[in-house]
Amino acid sequence: MRLMKVILTLAFVLVVGIGMGASAEKEIICASTTSTDNSGLFGYILPIFEKKTGIKVKVVAVGTGAAIEIGKRGDADVVFVHAKELELKAVKEGYFVNRHEVMYNDFVIIGPPADPAKIKGTKSAVDAFRKISETGSPFVSRGDNSGTNTKELEIWKKAGIDPKGQKWYLEAGQGMEKTQRIANEKRAYTLTDRGTWLATKDKDKLEMLILLEGDPILFNQYGVMAVNPEKQKHVKYKEAMEFVNWLISPEGQRTIASFKDKFGNQLFIPNAK
């Protein structure tokens, strides 16, 4: 019965410990994307916001598709993602209110320096994708319904190509950084966001180059929106709106602009209207 005693003592200690963990401070849950969180942006701006307002923002970082879904189900108070079409659709369906554009960065097409599809010098991402398809050069897709994946599929659609099932088209089903590493291993092309590329290319020793950039279609807009309190009665709408309003305020915008990665690159350009 010694064992029972040990177990019961442990149980007591743990239960008491859990009780002490709870606190009554103001907090909201923000469903966002791995790209925003992994870049360190939240780690930089949230303490500043918390200090000003006393609101603690808990970030659940998933893919854009999942983040919107979590918001629709009422499991978050605010959603901060980058898939304009999906966001506008969800707002129209009544799940979210007060959507605002916050900032952007851009997508770039990266690939092996040998550039087997000869896309370097091409101005249009759509043309580049056509060349990749025509030459059957390997292309790694996120394949995970993320904002980046959505953008990529939009370009394929514009090019009139259905890449699914082609033997040169690999769906990774992973985050951006892992997808880049897979593309690197496979000597393949992929679509990535500039922030992730800048933050990881040296660390991951990627033998890849930016082969196409600057096409307006590669614009990556981030938006924030509050969960509709009429759909989900329990959400902390007031606090969520404080967060939204701060993000688009001159102060919030300046804070975003001042966030730099450890190499000194500015990763997000604020553009709230």
Partner: protein, 233 residues
């Protein structure tokens, strides 16, 4: 190879300079997995004993379900719990999603079949002579059960250790129901997954090494409790 060597180096560095953030992550891991293990043992051990000692209709079915449940994919348990606990789900009013309690529930579900099924097989292996001898000595049925469970304690301990291994290493379920929120629901395994995603391989590996060391210390402690128990009888 570089990242592996760097990982080991980093592990020792992290242990030497144990910063408060890492410490709180480690403590939360222990709290979640420890509590889940206690819950699973409290519920699983009686069920294991019951199915080993009593014959009743549906017993074979329960045993098969328990054995199958040992193979439950954590991600599926996590997803199922998420849908239950979600604000749009049947238990949404409890506001449990993205809390440590939700993580404990998830790990309890994962550990429970291990405790129940493995203690079942530990108890069923006990020599039936013990039962006969106890009855001859005039034991009540509760005393008989206690005697048999006591006799099986070695195997029961093994069941608890297996369940502990399951929950300490688990990431799929707690990632979904906990949300891996920094400072609130971030534990060792979800941190390892996150750092791997971020490409911080050495750090992720270092955290993995620390996690293994913690498991090792716990298992040593359990081993000594087990040995002490064996010496006493």
């Amino acid at each position: 190879m570089d990242a592996i060597i760097e990982g080991f180096g980093k592990a020792f560095f992290l242990i030497l300079h144990l910063d408060p953030e890492l410490l709180s992550i480690i403590l939360l891991s222990l709290k979640v997995s420890g509590t889940a293990l206690i819950v699973a043992t409290t519920l699983g051990l009686p069920l294991g004993a019951l199915t080993a000692l009593k014959h009743f209709p549906g017993r074979g079915f329960i045993i098969s379900v328990l054995n199958t449940s040992m193979g439950l994919p954590p991600v599926v348990v996590g997803l199922f719990l998420y849908l239950l606990l979600s604000r749009s789900g049947p238990l949404g009013f409890m506001a449990l999603l993205y809390t440590t309690l939700a993580m404990i529930v998830a790990q309890s579900i994962l550990a429970f079949p291990f405790v129940a099924a493995l203690s079942h097989s530990a108890i069923i292996k006990i020599d039936p002579l013990i039962k006969k001898a106890s009855l001859t000595l005039g034991a009540t049925s509760l005393q008989v059960t206690t005697a048999i469970v006591r006799e099986a304690r070695y195997g029961i301990m093994a069941a608890i250790i297996a369940a502990l291994g399951r929950v300490m290493a688990e990431v799929g379920a707690i990632l979904i129901v906990g949300g891996n929120i920094a400072g609130f629901t971030r534990v060792m395994t979800t941190t390892i997954a996150l750092e791997t995603d971020k490409g911080n391989f050495a750090l992720a590996l270092a955290l993995g090494i620390i996690l293994l060391m913690i498991s090792f210390v716990i298992n040593m402690a359990l081993y000594f409790i087990q040995k002490k128990g064996a010496l006493q009888t």
